[in-house]
């Protein structure tokens, strides 16, 4: 058992990741969360569901993680006044998730300290909740202009800079409100939700296979991790294990996604400190990798290559040779470029000390993924909950304690080399001695399953609820950006405005994955 509590009865879920589920009563939510928090655990995800048709009310779902695994709690709520005890004082990162759950379902936290809307802007009006099953989109179209009460910073010489939603570069939309004195940032407040496109509602009623495609498009740069987490959740419900070679290929795809994104980010980080040399060099390497992906697996970003039950692309022996050669080339080139970055005084001057998140603050905020590891938060699902094939790979987690841009660069370099090592290992183990997938067409009725995968940005979680016919009734994809966006607000404090793009890029968080 991951935790014990007198009113908590957990049952183990089948599946690749160690996970337990249990139903609790409202009064037990805070003590259980506190118990997990005191033991060093974190909040992974929080979402709502409309179960009025099945049992006459709504439900709140809270997934926590500690060293034993995932703890998935369900809290049934009344149909009228569906409230639950606030947990944002225990886990500050719950704040935005609770507000999003209200915007989408109308379920709310008692005695919360922030009741502003989060995902809702003007697309639907305030008394309507789009993820309720009886929501009528035509009748509830919001017509009033969007208004959001930003926190005002007052004092002599304080002024505001409003940035976005359309940003100056080729990036996703969001709004940043800076309160500054001179060039120094006193406060940053983020306003997200611009790319909210109804992803969660779209899952409802899709077939399992269509859902896999949608999961792969929650955040395009993390398509492999989402597709795997979705497949893992489905396989957990159906109690199906994919063939060995499919699992090896999944790990290969996941590590290639990590390598591609780290290469791109390292180039961008060079670009943001005016070393355009870094951008051209790293992006040349990234393009070479993407071309190999297209040639060997049929898609540059490996979209739709992981399916429930297995994978949709294999690897021939000649392809293995190509990948071994690529590994050697990347190791050589990245090593050289790392040396150039490290010896470049101008680059290091901008990297070191910029956007620092101290380990203590990171722990309070529940920072996760690569940004967390750069602030000494040693969580990596591949190392802690090594599901096949990672149980045979002994992943070395990269952690660093400085928590600044330089630390996030170091972690990226270390992880890139580790991924190259893993790719070699995977290629040696990978044998095509079975089909690439086992059939998995439909899911059993009224079940719950969860999958978690360490994507390049951090832990990606997908939860699936099925209805009485085994159809997808609620799918919640959770991006690590939920955890890390609030930390960015802290990271930039006291820095100068021109360093914001650099600090922001060093986190490189997803808008689409958070906005859903």
């Amino acid at each position: 058992m991951p935790i014990t509590h007198p009113n908590l009865y957990l049952t183990r879920l089948t599946g690749a990741i160690p996970a337990w589920m249990g139903e609790i009563k409202p009064n037990d939510l805070q003590p259980i969360c506190q118990n997990v928090r005191d033991g060093g655990g974190r909040l992974v995800a929080l979402w709502g569901s409309d179960e009025r048709a099945q049992r006459g009310g709504f439900a709140l779902h809270v997934t926590l993680v500690n060293e034993a695994g995932l703890i998935c709690l369900s809290l049934p709520l009344a149909a009228q006044q569906p409230g639950y005890p606030d947990i944002s004082r225990i886990f500050p990162v719950a704040n935005r998730m609770q507000r999003a759950a209200y915007d989408l379902f109308g379920i709310y936290a008692y005695e919360g300290n922030d009741y502003r809307k989060w995902l809702r802007h003007g697309a639907w009006h305030s008394a309507s909740f789009p993820l309720r099953k009886d929501f009528d989109s035509a009748q509830n179209r919001g017509e009033e202009p969007d208004a959001y009460p930003f926190v005002k910073v007052e004092g002599q010489g304080v002024h505001e800079i409003a940035v976005g939603p359309v940003h100056a570069g080729i990036i996703e939309p969001g709004h940043f409100r800076f309160s500054i004195v001179g060039e120094k940032i006193l406060r940053l407040e983020e306003r997200l939700g611009y790319t909210h496109k109804g992803t969660e509602k779209r899952f409802e009623g899709l077939t399992l296979q269509q859902g896999a495609k949608l999961a792969g498009r929650v955040s395009g740069d993390t398509t492999v991790a989402y597709a795997w987490a979705y497949a893992m959740a489905a396989e957990s419900i159906a109690a199906v294990t994919p063939p060995d070679c499919a699992l090896w290929l999944r790990a290969l795809f996941l590590e290639r996604e990590r390598i591609a994104n780290h290469l791109g980010d390292l180039g961008d980080l060079g670009n943001d400190v005016s070393l355009s040399f870094g951008f051209s060099q790293f992006w040349i390497l990234k393009e070479q990798l993407l071309r190999i992906n297209a040639a060997l697996f049929g898609h540059r970003y490996l979209m739709d290559k992981i399916i429930p039950g297995g994978v949709a692309a294999g690897l021939a022996e000649s392809g293995k040779q190509t990948l071994f050669e690529e590994c050697a080339m990347l190791e050589r080139e990245v090593h050289l470029l790392r040396g150039i970055y490290e010896e470049h005084a101008g680059v290091q001057d901008r990297f070191i000390g910029a956007g620092r998140v101290e380990p203590k603050l990171a722990a309070q905020l529940g920072l996760c993924g690569l940004a967390g590891r750069a602030s000494l938060q040693s969580w990596d699902a591949r190392a802690q909950f090594p599901c096949a094939p990672y149980d045979k790979l002994d992943v070395q987690m990269a952690t660093y304690r400085n928590g600044d841009v330089a630390a996030r660069v170091i972690v990226r370099f270390d992880e890139l080399f580790e991924s190259l090592r893993l790719q070699r290992e995977i290629l040696t183990h990978l044998v095509h001695n079975s089909p690439l997938s086992v059939p998995l067409e439909t899911l059993p009725a009224s079940r719950f399953g969860v999958g978690m995968v360490e994507g390049w940005r951090g832990e990606v979680l997908v939860a699936i609820h099925t209805d009485a016919d085994g159809k997808l009734t609620r799918v919640h994809p959770h991006d690590p950006s939920w955890q890390n966006w609030p930390a960015l607000e802290h990271a930039v404090m006291g820095n100068i405005v021109p360093d914001f793009p650099l600090i922001n890029k060093s986190f490189n968080l997803s808008y689409s994955g958070q906005d859903l």
């Binding site: 639907w124 929501f135 992803t199 498009r217 395009g220 040399f277």
Partner: protein
């Protein structure tokens, strides 16, 4: 500094120049440059707007800046403000939350202007379609000159889309 310069020399020019084997592409890149000179004088400026995409299209649009595609070598550059732009490159199903911002960006772009929709979602709503939160394809919100399909479209397809839009503007 020695290592840096050595690396630049060793890397050489990666840009896929006209005489390379891809014959179709060669003709297009040459034509592209002529078209740009003809329509926009010396350069084409593009403002990219993500109106709600999953960010995969952004990855590929960034790729056209890669040394392999070297869009700036063709006289095309991405600019930070719509007021400096000749063309909007729009991705995503247009989320209802981005509808106003997209229209304002379009209004802020001086005439004559072109709109190129990038990716399946921008072309027809894609997997997200139209919903309480999504207006669907870009053409539901703005007049679109050219639509480039693909999930996401390759950098080559994106370059071709830009060319097609310029040809139509003649």
């Amino acid at each position: 500094m020695y290592q840096l310069i050595k690396q630049i020399i060793k890397t050489g020019i990666k840009t896929e120049s006209p005489p390379l084997p891809d014959e179709a592409m060669r003709v297009e890149t040459q034509r592209l440059q002529e078209e740009i000179l003809h329509v926009f004088g010396r350069a084409l400026s593009i403002r990219q707007v993500d109106a709600g995409s999953c960010n995969a299209c952004e990855l590929e649009i960034r790729e056209v800046n890669n040394a392999y595609y070297n869009i700036e070598g063709l006289g095309i550059k991405f600019v930070a403000s719509p007021r400096h732009a000749d063309m909007l490159l729009v991705t995503g199903p247009v989320s209802r939350h981005m509808e106003t911002a997209l229209k304002r960006t379009y209004d802020a772009t001086p005439d004559p202007k072109l709109v190129v929709a990038i990716g399946d979602c921008a072309c027809d709503g894609g997997i997200f379609g139209e919903s309480y939160a999504s207006c669907g394809r870009v053409a539901n919100v703005l007049p679109v000159d050219v639509a480039v399909s693909g999930c996401p479209p390759t950098p080559t397809a994106i370059l071709q889309g830009i060319l097609t839009a310029i040809s139509a503007a003649k």
